[in-house]
């Protein structure tokens, strides 16, 4: 077979090319020919096809994501915004924090362990590429029905993979979510987030400038795994049609990645790189074109210098390979020797594969012949943009009309008690310790709060005790009922969780998991959710620093619930002031902050007791969330509250149960005036938290709430070894503990 060089392509305009098989549309192929003024070579076609895939180009979502850049709140914290590998925020004392959430959904269904493991690997490299030391990971997960046999295959594999990779990297896992719902049966969601810390001056950007600078590929050798993974895995509806159609999945090597982290940090410390990029989806195609595109444009790469694991790979395959644990750096010539020395120290293979040139073209050579000659921007940043049609689904009105308020409610204390036990034992509300105990939360010796808490928190400076906190949330049931409100509820909940831990929310990242963008119903959900999130961030003052979109999460015609997952990052000046969820002191007073309304649409109660999903989700009031956040933060800073737990799915009784079990103390609760016991216990009204206040602080605390206009209702006291709702029922902690903790092991342990 003759090599398809640029020259050859120019001379043979009529050669048939497999653009369709590579996932390109006819007009996209035509545009490539127009850009190049000739037909693309095989290698160019490979690059365009992966880079113009949904996963890399965001072609369906771009027009909506634009809002995150348009509706930016006033916020001095933002140092690097959307568009880089990850956003960066200022957390004070000269420190900057970078964080991001990504999805690895489809691969994790096919090969749960490796799919999830490489998901962690990918997000960690993103953070590393910003110049930061990764300090923690989080993992929001969604699975099919808890008792479905395939969940027994997928969940343990995913959890083992996340643990296997993250534990081996030495990154504490400080939070996440586990949600079960039949809608995720064929499309589990495996989102992974990472937080990194650096000094302001260490921020690195992915760009290649300075002609003569060397392009160095370092890390693992390039192999034949994951070729075309980007386009096949992320762009087409996944159908499990037997082995032949199964796309390749990569196997991760966390040990190699750990070396890559240490090696890269040492390289940063000596200021040896001018630009850096991780290799993720679309491999070298992405790294070279993005580096060149963000710089001055010109780059020359000798592809035959790339170290291979399999010598039979074609140049197209090398360009598309998604082999894990690789990075690409741009290095001034005088630093190359030292760069290589550090790589050698860490047993990391490093090779100069090219250099930055004067021109504006990305040129790639194979055995001396030019096989790629493209303007890099057209590959990396000027991909197709679609205005996909969207319309409010025809079924939306009926769904919202199916009000949860009409569902039968418990009629006696006895019935209430039964329903409480059912609720706290239901898979979604049950303890996730069986899962989270498989993650190392202590490594690095800086973990202040981890599972089960409202937010994970790590110390980032040992001298000053500066810390950062993160919570991730997203309720697909709410978003299904109303995607605009659902996205804001996700934001509000994560924000509230961070504030409840005592940290000040600063900025967010998100992972938007939806069905097929070619379905106008789904596209409407997406449009509404992004609009809700952008409006919400503007109002709360927390900018979107970056994120990820995962589309085509559907089985046949059926899409998953729209699932926007929001990660909120917060900062705390002194981690000594953190607020845990545990009710640790008997005799302390319990206050419910916020307003409780009859809101049951999408609630855990409606799901667990009635298997119902309908009506409207709880109302959102972001100004109220902000006020609640301020109170929680002041309360913690000034020592007025010893414990706080936000109220979300499952309502008050769920939160109180968790705080009591964690602290090993019971609680006596009184139903406040104007509320019935059922609404008091199960309502999911947003903007609420329960706090434990030392008696000596009661006045100061209620005065503060009163002065600021936040309703604070005394609902009881930490006491005894049971949760007693006066006049209704009493449940011993032992009974609650068994109900809460036995469910997940019973479903999943062998």
């Amino acid at each position: 077979m003759t090599l398809d060089t640029v020259l050859h392509a120019a001379e043979t305009p009529d050669v048939e090319q497999p653009w369709k098989e590579l996932g390109l549309k006819e007009d996209e192929y035509a545009r490539i020919r127009e850009i190049l003024g000739r037909r693309p070579t095989g290698a160019e076609l490979a690059m365009y096809s992966v880079m113009w895939s949904e996963h890399c180009s965001y072609k369906s979502s771009k027009v909506h994501l634009k809002q995150f850049g348009d509706k930016v709140p006033e916020n001095d914290a933002m140092l690097v915004g959307i568009g880089e590998n990850a956003g960066v925020v200022d957390v004070g004392q000269g420190y900057a924090v970078t964080f991001k959430v990504e999805s690895h959904n489809h691969p994790s269904y096919i090969e749960p362990y490796q799919g999830a493991a490489t998901g962690i690997g990918g997000i960690v490299r993103d953070i590393l590429a910003m110049g930061a030391r990764p300090v923690a990971v989080v993992d929001p997960l969604r699975f099919g029905a808890a008792d479905h046999p395939d969940t027994r295959r997928v969940l343990p594999g995913v959890v083992a993979g996340i643990g296997g990779y993250g534990n081996c990297l030495g990154l504490p896992n400080i939070g996440g979510e586990v949600v079960f719902d039949a809608c995720y049966q064929g499309n589990p969601l495996v989102n992974a987030g990472c937080i990194g810390v650096m000094k302001h001056e260490d921020i690195h950007l992915a760009q290649a400038s300075g002609p003569g600078n060397k392009v160095i590929l370092y890390g693992a050798r390039t192999g034949g795994d994951g070729i075309g993974g980007v386009s096949v895995l992320a762009s087409e509806t996944f159908e499990s049609t037997g082995p032949a159609k199964r796309p390749a999945v990569q196997v991760g090597d966390p040990f190699q990645e750990k070396l890559l982290i240490e090696c890269t940090l040492e390289i940063f410390k000596e200021k040896l790189v001018a630009g850096i990029q991780d290799l993720g989806g679309a491999g070298l195609s992405c790294a070279t074109s993005e580096l060149a595109s963000a710089g001055s444009g010109g780059m020359r790469v000798e592809l035959d210098t790339v170290p291979l694991r399999d010598s039979s790979l074609s140049p197209e395959e090398i360009l598309m390979s998604e082999s894990q644990e690789r990075m690409c750096a741009v290095v001034e010539p005088q630093h190359v020797d030292r760069f290589m020395e550090i790589c050698e120290k860490w047993d990391v293979i490093a090779t100069v594969i090219g250099e930055v040139t004067e021109g504006s073209q990305l040129e790639i050579f194979w055995h001396g012949e030019k096989i790629v000659d493209v303007p890099p921007r057209t590959v990396a940043h000027e991909g197709p943009v679609y205005n996909r049609p969207f319309a409010r689904p025809s079924w939306q009105d009926a769904l919202q009309a199916d009000d949860a308020g009409k569902l039968a409610r418990p009629q006696s204390g006895e019935e209430l008690k039964d329903q409480v036990l059912k609720l706290v034992a239901s898979p979604n509300q049950a303890s996730k310790a069986w899962i989270t105990d498989q993650y190392d939360r202590f490594v690095q010796g800086n973990t202040v709060l981890a599972m089960p808490e409202d937010a994970g928190m790590v110390r980032i400076d040992e001298e000053t005790n500066l810390g950062v906190a993160m919570a991730t949330d997203g309720n697909g049931r709410y978003a299904k009922l109303d995607p605009y409100t659902g996205a804001q509820l996700a934001l509000a909940e994560a924000y509230r969780n961070v504030a409840a831990s005592g940290a000040k929310p600063l900025a967010i990242s998100d992972c938007l998991n939806f069905g097929s963008p070619e379905d106008p119903d789904v596209m409407w959900q997406f449009a509404e959710a992004t609009r809700g999130l952008a409006d919400g961030c503007l109002q709360l003052g927390t900018p979107v620093t970056g994120g990820n979109v995962s589309l085509y999460n559907q089985t046949g015609e059926t899409a998953i619930h729209p699932t926007p997952v929001v990660a909120v990052l917060g900062v705390i000046d002194d981690v000594n002031r953190r607020t845990p969820i545990a009710f640790a002191e008997q005799g302390q007073l319990l206050y419910l902050l916020g307003d409780t309304r009859e809101e049951f649409g999408g609630s855990a109660w409606s799901e667990v007791i009635h298997g119902h999903l309908g009506g409207l989700p709880p109302r959102v009031d972001l100004d109220r969330e902000k006020l609640l956040g301020e109170i929680l933060i002041s309360g913690s800073r000034d020592g007025m509250i010893d414990a706080a737990h936000d109220l979300s799915d499952g309502g008050l009784i769920q939160a109180v149960t968790e705080s009591c079990l964690k602290g090993g103390n019971g609680a006596r609760l009184v139903v406040p005036d104007g509320l019935d016991a059922f609404t008091f216990l199960f309502s999911e009204s947003a903007g609420r938290a329960v706090v434990s206040v030392p008696r000596s602080e009661e006045l100061r605390f209620t005065d503060m709430c009163g002065a600021r206009g936040l309703p604070a209702t005394r609902i009881g006291v930490v006491d005894g070894e049971a949760i007693e709702v006066q006049g209704e029922f009493s449940l011993s902690l032992a009974e609650l503990r068994t109900a809460h903790e036995a469910t997940i092991p019973a479903l999943l342990a062998h």
Binding site: G170, D253, F255, K258, D437, F442, V443, Q444, G445, R459
Partner: protein, 226 residues
């Protein structure tokens, strides 16, 4: 006068920084050691820290055991230098035959991370003198291959000589024979255990207890008083 305590970093070691911190908090001088150097930089004692050296590939500790630094560590340990192996470090010590037995995959096959209650059975080793025999402590446990096994004869010998240094309480987390969490050599200078004392040295961090600090103060006192 203080003591110099070295912490070895192998490729894939994770808890080296934490161990150095624990050494510092205890008041000793922390010294980083590198797996490729045979030179121990005149340290008085050595910590083999936890983590996944060489990714735990093949078997935990199996590849690290053959590194240059271990040549000197093995030699010095035999000559009486105090060596503490935590988690992966314990695995390296058994692979090096400085301690008997072997570590296997947890019987439930999962990585386990939790706070673990232990009993200090032997408070006379170089690393446990600050504890009382029989004292109960709680420190984090986190590992995949924490199941201690040895043949019956070795186990009986360990018991008879008081060389079972730590035992799991309130439930065996991994199927370790005779609830063994850590052991010592006959001389008491080489100690290995699976749980992580270096993660329990500050009141705010991790599980919020400082029960592990005694390991580092024990060795410091011993070295300074020597």
């Amino acid at each position: 006068m203080t003591a110099r305590i070295g912490v070895v970093t192998f490729p894939g070691t994770l808890d080296d920084r934490d161990s150095l911190r624990a050494v510092r908090i205890a008041g000793a001088e922390p010294v980083s050691l590198w797996h490729r150097d045979k030179d121990l930089k005149q340290v008085d004692a050595i910590v083999l820290a936890g983590g996944f050296s060489y990714g735990d590939y093949l078997r935990a500790g199996a590849i690290s055991r053959f590194s240059p630094v271990m040549e000197t560590v093995i030699e010095q340990a035999r000559a009486g230098m105090p060596v503490l192996g935590i988690c992966n470090g314990f695995q390296i010590l058994t692979e090096s035959h400085l301690l008997p037995g072997a570590m296997l995959r947890n019987n439930h096959l999962h990585f386990i991370c939790r706070e673990q209650k232990l009993r200090v059975e032997n408070a006379e080793t170089a690393w446990t003198a600050d504890y009382e025999a029989g004292q109960e402590i709680r420190v984090p446990l986190k590992n995949m291959d924490g199941r201690y096994v040895a043949d019956e004869r070795t186990l009986d010998e360990l018991e008879a000589e008081g060389r079972v240094a730590f035992r799991y309480l309130d439930g065996n987390p991994n199927g370790s024979l005779r609830d063994i969490a850590g052991i010592t050599n006959a001389a008491g200078n080489v100690v290995g255990l699976m749980p992580h004392p270096e993660h329990a040295v500050e009141p705010l961090i991790g599980t919020g207890r400082t029960d592990g600090l005694g390991f580092f103060t024990s060795i410091l006192k011993k070295l300074v008083n020597a």
